[in-house]
């Protein structure tokens, strides 16, 4: 099925908007790829992630709508702030939305959650009030 039937133009714009907002919020690279995986989805997603310009500070959300698999790949530099359990929580939220049929809403919410965790927290020092 061509991507256009599954995702309407409105859907695509909404996803792009969510990605842009996530990038602004977390100050790291976000990518979303919706494709049919060639082989094991996890390995395929990690290969795609490694092919990004700056994989060590990139997050890739890979969705395989045929196999119904979702993979989140976080770059090593980001794992300091966004550890695997937080990524698992975002994945769970997305999985729930996808199962209910809300693809765009699930992606938006998941990206927002990842961006919030990946954002480096502001350092508040005692002597600065």
């Amino acid at each position: 099925m061509p991507a256009g039937e599954f995702l309407s133009e409105t859907d695509r714009r909404a996803i792009q908007r969510a990605v842009t907002m996530a990038q602004e919020q977390a100050d790291c690279d976000f990518s979303v790829c919706i494709d049919e995986a060639d082989g094991d989805p996890r390995a395929y997603a990690e290969r795609l992630h490694a092919g990004l310009v700056a994989p060590e500070r990139s997050i890739l959300v890979f969705v395989d709508p045929v196999a119904r698999r979702l993979e989140i790949v976080t770059g090593p530099q980001l794992r300091r702030h966004l550890d695997d359990s937080e990524a698992a929580l975002a994945a769970l939220a997305m999985q729930t939305s996808f199962a209910a049929g809300d693809f765009v809403g699930g992606l938006t919410q998941g990206l927002q959650q990842l961006a919030e965790h990946a954002r480096r927290p502001e350092m508040l020092h005692f002597d600065q009030g």
């Binding site: 099925m1 061509p2 991507a3 039937e5 599954f6 995702l7 695509r12 996803i15 990605v19 842009t20 990038q23 690279d29 976000f30 990518s31 790829c33 919706i34 494709d35 049919e36 989805p41 996890r42 395929y44 997603a45 990690e46 290969r47 795609l48 992630h49 490694a50 092919g51 990004l52 310009v53 994989p55 060590e56 997050i59 709508p65 045929v66 196999a67 119904r68 698999r69 979702l70 993979e71 989140i72 790949v73 976080t74 770059g75 090593p76 794992r79 550890d83 695997d84 990524a87 975002a90 994945a91 769970l92 999985q95 729930t96 996808f98 199962a99 209910a100 049929g101 809300d102 693809f103």
Partner: protein, 145 residues
């Protein structure tokens, strides 16, 4: 009963203890309280009931008689109203998923070309490469639906 020895031990026969237990009269405090509580519990609601007699009165004679509501009107208001409210709220709750249609839940049979979203600088030109031994491991999570 205290033995009569308390009186200086002059009597030779004293009562050490009673063999038969005397029948208790309501003179004991706890029993009296219980009895009073029992009477109050019965009397209070009855008093309240009869004291509220004015509530049983009819409307003042000076007011005009209202027409009794027909069965149809009553049915319409008390049954139809909640049902209509129920329908409206359900519609509001389910409207987004109805409008969206079923396609995204059912999934797809095949996918022709990849759809990428993200800043264009994020994607390098070369195709994905295998992880080398020196690379630090990426993390993340997986899920299926």
């Amino acid at each position: 009963m205290a033995p009569d020895r308390a009186r200086g031990g002059r009597s030779r026969v004293g009562i050490l203890t009673h063999v038969t237990t005397p029948v208790t009269t309501p003179a004991t405090t706890t029993d009296a309280l219980r009895r009073a509580a029992r009477i109050t519990a019965v009397a209070a609601p009855l008093t309240a009931l009869f004291a509220a007699a004015p509530a049983l009165a009819d409307t003042p004679a000076a007011w005009e008689e209202a027409e009794p509501m027909s069965t149809l009107t009553a049915l319409l208001i008390f049954v139809g109203g909640p049902l209509a409210l129920f329908a409206v709220i359900s519609l509001l709750a389910f409207a987004p998923s109805i409008l969206r249609g079923d396609r995204q839940r059912r999934g797809v049979a095949s996918w022709t070309e990849p759809a990428w979203f993200g800043s264009e600088v994020g994607r390098s030109e070369q195709p994905g490469r295998e992880l080398e031994a020196g690379d630090r491991q990426p993390g993340g999570a997986s899920a299926r639906w």
